[in-house]
């Protein structure tokens, strides 16, 4: 396994939104899915997950509902709302443009200045 990268600030929200966009999940499930799609390269602090979830819910990007888990226990499931979907799109675009800019700056050769 490659060295685990530290999660950049502010990106946890984006990742949660993405994870949930693929289908409703409970908190633990979201954690697993992020780890899964990142191929275990991201380390997520378990303690910071739930505050982020609550914040996202408060802001209206995700909505929650109590349901039954795979092993028949009560769990709170989160799904993406329409507004959340738009937000995810916007954040993704933002991220990509930012990445381009930074990459451009970092790739400048001395003679291009």
């Amino acid at each position: 396994m490659d060295k685990q990268l530290d999660l950049l600030q502010g990106t946890l929200d984006m990742l949660i939104l993405k994870a949930v966009s693929l289908g409703p999940l409970h908190g633990y499930g979201i954690l697993l899915r992020i780890q899964q799609i990142s191929k275990d390269r991201l380390e997520i602090q378990q303690g910071s997950l739930y505050p982020a979830l609550y914040r996202l819910e408060h802001q209206g990007w995700i909505a929650s509902e109590w349901g039954e888990s795979e092993n028949k226990r009560k769990a709170k499931y989160y799904r993406l709302t329409a507004a959340g979907k738009r937000r995810l799109q916007a954040e993704t675009e933002n991220w990509n443009s930012m990445a381009d800019v930074i990459a451009g700056i970092l790739g400048t050769k001395p003679e291009e200045v």
Binding site: H26, Y28, Q46, G47, S48, R55, R73, K74
Partner: protein
């Protein structure tokens, strides 16, 4: 939240177990990896934001801490708010007590008053009319008749005196849902036959006062107007009758005993109308249905017997508010409402300015909180909580103050100008308390919102760099605007106070009367069924006897519905020989029978001719003394002596001319008056006496009473009052309005001065560096002062202009109380403006003196 987090940990633990870890170990590791459960919960809570109640409590605690930090400012703010709210709530208490209270009864919602105007406007009923209605009506139940202003001269337990009684039908008690405190009320059997059942119910206060609460008085007799009545019960305490704002009743007797309580005509005649009628609307019936039915019934009654008065419709209205003349109070209420509103606005402007200043001072604190992530709305909410806390503290104090203030205001009306006591209940009830809460909250938001919004816009960079931050242009403009508003409103109040003060001074001047040292009283001989001749000689004897008493300068009599010094009855008059095509064109005058020495007693100056004397008696040629307006209007000459005039078609010869003697009224111009000799008319039963006393008239009263009693001890001496007190009573409104306006103006002026002082003072403090710079560059103290004074002067000038306009628009409200002074009187405006300028400019100047003492070196270093 708990369940969700637990599920997470357990799921994680399960996964660990699946990889081979023992269950116990798995749970342990899961917990550790997750981190502190409580901390997670805490963070979640914080992110979600505390719910509303928790936020509120947090805000309140913070607000209290902030307010405690500057106790001086807080105290002033609370007091200021208290005064503003007190003024407002007081006015509302009065409005509530006068116009919104229902008759004191159980379930008063369906109780209505029934009125039916007759020829002269009245609206009262006679007993036969009442009985007919009671038998026939299907829309109103428990119809009750009452005459609640019966003057009953009683003799009980060794005491004598006049009390206000009520003559009521037997359903009175059940309609109101009253329970006797002791004994019982009269039954319908006892109220069925005229003049038979002399039973009486006493008021609680009367019972305590006269019988010392002796519980053995049931069945005992006492005298009312010379007739023996039996006490059968005691009213519950706190019940004083059905008339709101009326005279408190102390004795209740059955309607069938009307002859005892009402003397002006025979109460059982169809046209002798004096009763008010109350009743309960039947459920399902509306007031207009009842009205139609009553009107129809009255028409039928009149059609069957023309002895009944002609009626013009009927009205059925909810029994709420004063039953008497509303117009009388409405005017004053309107003025008081305006004053209360203006004062509250001034208070809000003042506090707004104060809070704006504080917001600036707290710039650092607010900037820090903004930087730490608080949302702007959160800051605004917290600051608003502070304002509301201030407001409610002030509101509570204000409510307490208002109970005292409303009692004070009402006490001016507690005795009317005939000496009768009135009862007004202005204690705060649920409506008043609700109103005060609403007003307090509104005030808190009004003066707190703007500063809160402004404070939350603190520029982070400036504030955090220290120095409290610079004040944005908008904030300075706000404070200046608020100061200007205060100045403007203060001017309006000052002008009003000035107008009323001038008016008060002119009430007595030009009246051509001097009523000081004059005692007035009334001898209602008709209460004792005196025949006219006996009344005549009795009164003559009284006048003769009183004249001989030591200290009595002069004694006289006058007849009049009004007071001794007021104009008399209306009549028509013409010069003999002059004819009018239509009788309505004949001029209306006032006729007043007066005894000799009337003019001397009241110090009304003669212009020419003579006073009435002993030769003007029964059988002598009818003569009259007229006033100047009469001479001018009727005889069209200045020398009317010797001419004969017809008053109501009776000829009188003019033997004297006096000056117009009339207290000023804003509504009425001078009236033409013809005085006729009292002793030339034997049918006059009632009379009011006026007695001029060398010293204090009140001290002479016992002597006068004894003298009258020595002639006939049965005759009650009533309505004893100093004429000057009557005059004051007649102008109570003007006096109350003047007093209130003066207090309000004083408060407003103080607040405006404080507000302006604060604005300028702050500017000086803020621009200390600039001052230092200027002084270092050669500016003298006067230049510095001028710099700031210009701003203060600007505020005052604009304030005066707007205030003047406002005053111009609103002083029309004072119209009824301005005597000989126009509502745009330039002298009052000028004086008010002068006072305002003096006070406010001083307030603006004082802080500038601080500016001149700035040491340039210190100032320039001041950071």
């Amino acid at each position: 939240m708990d369940a969700e987090l637990r599920f997470h940990i357990e799921s994680y633990a399960e996964d660990l177990v699946r990889t081979g870890v023992s269950r116990q170990e798995a749970i342990r590791r899961a917990r550790i990896e997750f981190g502190g459960l409580d901390r997670a919960k805490e963070e979640c809570r914080e992110v979600r934001g505390l719910n509303l109640v928790d936020t509120l409590i947090q805000d309140l605690r913070y607000a209290m801490r902030m307010l405690r930090k500057s106790p001086g400012v807080t105290l002033i703010a609370v007091l200021t708010t208290a005064l503003g709210i007190a003024a407002n709530v007081t006015v509302f208490s009065l409005v509530d007590g006068l116009f919104l209270r229902s008759v004191p009864a159980k379930n008063p919602e369906r109780i209505v008053r029934i009125l039916a105007p007759e020829n002269d406007g009245g609206g009262y009923f006679s007993i036969p009319e009442f009985l007919y209605l009671r038998n026939q009506t299907k829309t109103v139940e428990e119809l009750t008749a009452h005459y609640s202003t019966a003057p009953l001269y009683i003799s009980a337990n060794g005491e004598t005196g006049e009390v206000q009684g009520a003559v009521v039908s037997s359903s009175y008690f059940s309609m109101l849902g009253l329970q006797p405190y002791l004994g019982r009320f009269f039954t319908s059997e006892e109220d069925s036959t005229p003049d038979r059942d002399a039973v009486a119910v006493l008021g609680y206060g009367f019972w305590q006062r006269v019988y010392r609460g002796d519980s053995n008085i049931l069945g005992k007799p006492f005298l009312i107007n010379g007739q023996s009545f039996t006490i059968i019960g005691i009213m519950p305490p706190e019940f004083h009758g059905t008339e709101i704002g009326g005279m408190p009743n102390e004795i209740w007797i059955p309607a069938m005993m009307i002859h005892v309580g009402y003397r002006h005509c025979d109460g059982f005649q169809p046209s002798c109308t004096m009763l008010g009628i109350l009743g309960r609307l039947r459920s399902g019936i509306s007031a207009s249905e009842a009205r139609a039915e009553i009107a129809t019934l009255l028409q039928q009654l009149r059609a069957s017997n023309s002895a009944f008065d002609e009626r013009y419709g009927a009205s059925v209205i909810a029994a709420i508010g004063i039953s008497g003349d509303r117009e009388y109070f409405l005017l004053l209420m309107r003025l008081l409402t305006t004053i209360g509103g203006l004062l509250l606005l001034i208070v809000c402007a003042n506090l707004g300015g104060l809070l704006l200043a504080r917001g600036t001072a707290r710039g650092t604190e607010i900037a820090m909180r903004l930087a730490l992530g608080a949302g702007r709305s959160r800051i605004v909410r917290q600051l608003l909580t502070e304002s509301l806390l201030l407001a409610f503290a002030g509101g509570a104090v204000g409510l307490l103050l208002s109970t005292w203030m409303s009692q004070l205001l009402v006490s001016f009306y507690s005795v009317d100008d005939e000496g009768y006591r009135h009862l007004f209940d202005v204690r705060p009830d649920a409506t008043v308390i609700l109103y005060s809460i609403v007003v307090t909250a509104a005030a808190g938001v009004l003066f707190g919102l703007l500063p809160a919004l402004q404070a939350s816009r603190t520029d982070l960079n400036d504030a955090l760099k220290g120095g409290g931050g610079t004040v944005g242009a908008s904030r300075k403009l706000s404070r200046t605007a608020l100061a200007t508003v205060q100045v403007a409103f203060s001017l309006a109040l000052l002008v009003g106070a000035g107008l009323l003060a001038r008016s008060a001074a002119r009430i007595e001047s030009g009246a051509n009367m001097d009523l000081h040292h004059v005692l007035g009283l009334r001898l209602p001989v008709s209460l004792l069924h005196y025949p006219p001749h006996r009344a005549y000689t009795f009164k003559q004897e009284v006048v003769r006897r009183l004249r001989e008493l030591p200290g009595i300068e002069s004694v006289s009599l006058a007849k009049g519905q009004g007071l001794v010094w007021m104009p008399g009855q209306r009549a028509r008059a013409t010069l003999t020989g002059k004819t009018y095509t239509k009788p309505e064109e004949e001029p209306l005058i006032s006729v007043k029978p007066v005894a000799p020495d009337y003019f001397g007693t009241l110090r009304i100056p003669f212009v020419s001719g003579r006073d009435f004397n002993d030769s003007d008696k029964l059988g002598s040629p009818p003569v009259t003394i007229v006033n100047e307006t009469f001479a001018r209007q009727i005889t069209a000459s200045h020398l009317p002596l010797g001419q004969t005039v017809l008053v109501d078609d009776k000829p009188y010869q003019i033997v004297g001319l006096v000056k117009d003697a009339q207290m000023r009224s804003a509504i009425q111009g001078p009236l033409p008056v013809a005085y006729v000799p009292f002793w030339q008319d034997e049918t006059l039963l009632e009379a009011r006496m006026c007695i001029r006393v060398a010293g204090d008239p009140a001290a002479a009263l016992p002597m006068v009473r004894k003298a009258i009693a020595s002639i006939d001890p049965e005759v009650p001496v009533t309505e004893t009052m100093l004429l000057m007190d009557q005059v004051h009573g007649a102008y109570t409104d003007a006096r109350v309005a003047g007093g209130v306006l003066s207090c309000a103006a004083l408060l407003a002026l103080t607040l405006s001065a404080m507000g302006l002082y604060g604005v300028v003072s702050y500017e000086v403090g803020r621009r200390t560096k600039e001052i230092g710079l200027r002084m270092a560059l050669g500016a003298g103290p006067r230049d510095v002062v001028q710099l700031f004074l210009r701003q203060g002067f600007g505020v005052v000038l604009i304030g005066v202009i707007f205030g003047g306009a406002l005053a111009f628009a609103t002083t029309r409200l004072l119209g009824a109380w301005l005597f000989g002074v126009g509502s745009a009187d330039p002298l009052s405006f000028g004086a008010a403006a002068a006072v305002l300028l003096a006070v406010t400019l001083t307030a603006a100047y004082l802080p500038t003196r601080r500016a001149t003492r700035v040491d340039p070196m210190v100032a320039l270093r001041y950071e």
